[in-house]
């Protein structure tokens, strides 16, 4: 069975249509990369799937066979959906570990002692090469761009979603930093975890193998293929796809 099945999805911000009838199927363990220029609607797509209140979504979206659009954002997360934000919000005065423990309790629907949780979190942090003190800082409070990404990846590692959606993971990162993050994702990922990556550039594919690559323009997927599509796009630029469609 498919993990995620999108049929004819439309997304509106106020009354403006941004995603204009999009279909996509993601099977367990698959990696999908969605490429596109600014304004193509790719970030809106991910945010709408996660349930951002700014957007109104219409269409048929099934997550493990259940109607995704009918449930609230926190229920989507509990069902196993995760969005790594391009610009995650600050929550001043709330430590990352406290925040993440609450998220853990919600995601797995089980109470856990602070000590038990810290053990789980520490293991993941070690895997990611993070300092212990990192988790005691306020969520994204005074974090650098790189630290924000790492915090998102730590959350991803702890919450073990079925579907990880990574929004512009490469923005604000240099090639080395991006490489490291991509490696980490490969490391923490379980074989059945599906991933949707939204990006401008194909460079993340150096460290993370994609099963499908899609190109988005004006709210629609206009081309799909394998990694070769991404490389071609990288070589020739978006003008190639613009002229050929």
């Amino acid at each position: 069975m498919s993990l995620l099945e999108i049929n004819g999805l439309k997304v509106f911000a106020d009354e403006k249509e941004i995603v204009k009838g999009l279909s996509l199927t993601v099977k367990p363990g698959e990696v999908h990369v969605i490429m596109g220029q600014n304004g193509s609607g790719k970030s809106t797509l991910l945010n709408a799937l996660a349930g951002h209140p700014k957007y109104r979504a219409e269409g048929d979206v099934k997550f493990e066979g259940k109607d995704l659009l009918a449930i609230k954002p926190h229920e989507r997360a509990r069902a196993g959906m995760f969005l790594a934000f391009q610009h995650p919000n600050e929550v001043s005065g709330v430590s990352l570990s406290n925040f993440l423990r609450r998220a853990y309790v919600a995601r797995f629907n089980k109470e856990i002692s602070v000590a038990e949780f810290e053990k789980i979190m520490r293991e993941k942090m070690q895997l990611l090469g993070m300092e212990k003190s990192f988790a005691e800082r306020g969520v994204n409070e005074g974090f650098s761009g790189g630290e924000k990404k790492r915090s998102e990846i730590l959350q991803l590692a702890v919450l073990e979603p079925k579907l990880a959606m990574l929004d512009e993971l490469d923005s604000g990162l240099d090639v080395d930093a991006l490489g490291k993050i991509a490696e980490t994702i490969a490391l923490i990922r379980k074989p059945e975890t599906s991933i949707i990556i939204v990006t401008h550039y194909a460079r993340i594919l150096k460290n993370l193998k994609a099963d499908h690559v899609h190109v988005m323009r004006d709210g629609k997927i206009i081309a799909s293929g394998d990694e070769r599509l991404a490389h071609k796009l990288e070589e020739t630029g978006y003008s190639w796809i613009n002229s050929s469609v």
Binding site: A50, G51, H52, P53, K54, K72, P73, H74, R76, A77, R78, F82, L83, F85, P88, N89, E90, V91, S92, G93, V94, F99, L100, R102, A103, A106, R107, G138, V139, Q155, L159
Partner: protein, 476 residues
Amino acid sequence: MDANVGKLYGRDAELRDAPTTEELKATVGSTAEHVGLTIDIVKEISDFKNEPDWMREHRLKSFKIFESKPVPTWGPDLSHLDFNQIVGFVRPKGKEYKANTWDEVPTEIKDTFEKLGIPEAERKFLAGVGAQYDSEVLYKSLRKNISELGVIYTDMDSAVREYPELVQKYFMNRCVPATDNKFAALHGAFWSGGSFLYVPKDVVVPMPLQIYFMMNYPGFGQFEHTLIVAEEGAQVQYIEGCSAPHYTKDSMHAAVVEIFAHKGSRVRYTSIQNWSKNVYNLNTKRALVYDNAVMEWVGGTLGSGVTMLYPCSMLLGKGARAEHLSIALAGEGQVKDTGAKVFHMAPDTSSKIVSKSICKKGGTVRYRGMLMVGAGCTGVKSNVRCDSIISDSDSKAETIPVMDIRSKDAVIGHEASVGRISEEQLFYLMSRGIDAEEALALVVRGFIEPIVKELPLEYAVEMNRLIEMEMEGSVG
């Protein structure tokens, strides 16, 4: 969530099980209860307490001042405050309700405490705690070692009898005279109960001293007086937590707190106020701070309908320092007109003010600050920070900082922010599985964290629980 906590904090939904007025009266009873604030009641209080002449005169003089002063109109609307509906004095049925150990507290009183859900903090720290029940100090237990240190910690009425010179030296003259404002004058006439704390030279009190005040009769005005004197080099922390069940008649609270922090001493005064929403909370709290002494105010005002509270530090000696940390929360029908006043009247004095306000469901929070630096006071430093967050468009947050700086080299910092809890921020938390209400509570808890972390653990836990309850139902 502990059901008792709900009762304690007077949430309507939980009030079905709370004791009724009749039940409370049946348990405690009273022999004196007069509605309205008249000079006859003033005399009766004084007679009942068998007070020395100076105190009786002080009361009568204060009453005249009260009558002569108009109700202040520069702040929140007080036009619904009806002095004729306020009960000036209530005392328990038995005269001998004072106890030194928990065991000696009558069972029916314990049951009432139980019903009201007095939190763990009270029970755990019993040895250092006194609780005011209506107008009389009902229960008080001092750890032996505190009295061995020469510390005097007793109820204010006993202090008048047992330590007349000390009380007369400090009571409502230099710090908060009856002429200060209408409610201080009212207090001067009707005051009853409260605490007297005297810490001798160089004595460090090893644990925070705690007291709870409660108001359990309808229309019952509470006018307790707190007087704290820290002699040279002394150190003490004093904590006050307040609660009352919900009643329909208007009640008023007009307390006075006077603190003397002598040379090199350190005093921390912490109060958490959470009265039911029909209470007018109109207090005067002030500290005189001498050379190199440190005065810290930590406060949370969560309950009551209208609150006017501006703890004041008079920095009178060189190198004196004041810190004011406060949280104010206003929900439906609540007005929190709170702030801080600091008067730098000596060189090298410093102050720090941090105010955090939360408003929701049409509540109003107003930070009103007064910062004054006297002429010729060199080397003064002050930093003011007031932040507010608003959870909906019906609520209001305002900042009225007044500064009167007469010294050229004073270093003054002022920062203010008003923020709306953003959809984006809540969505971020929700995208991790946290539901909307918990997300909102988490944002608010994070916002007040810099102040909550200054509270003792039990209070911090209570404060966080309370905020969580307060934010319930605030998500549209």
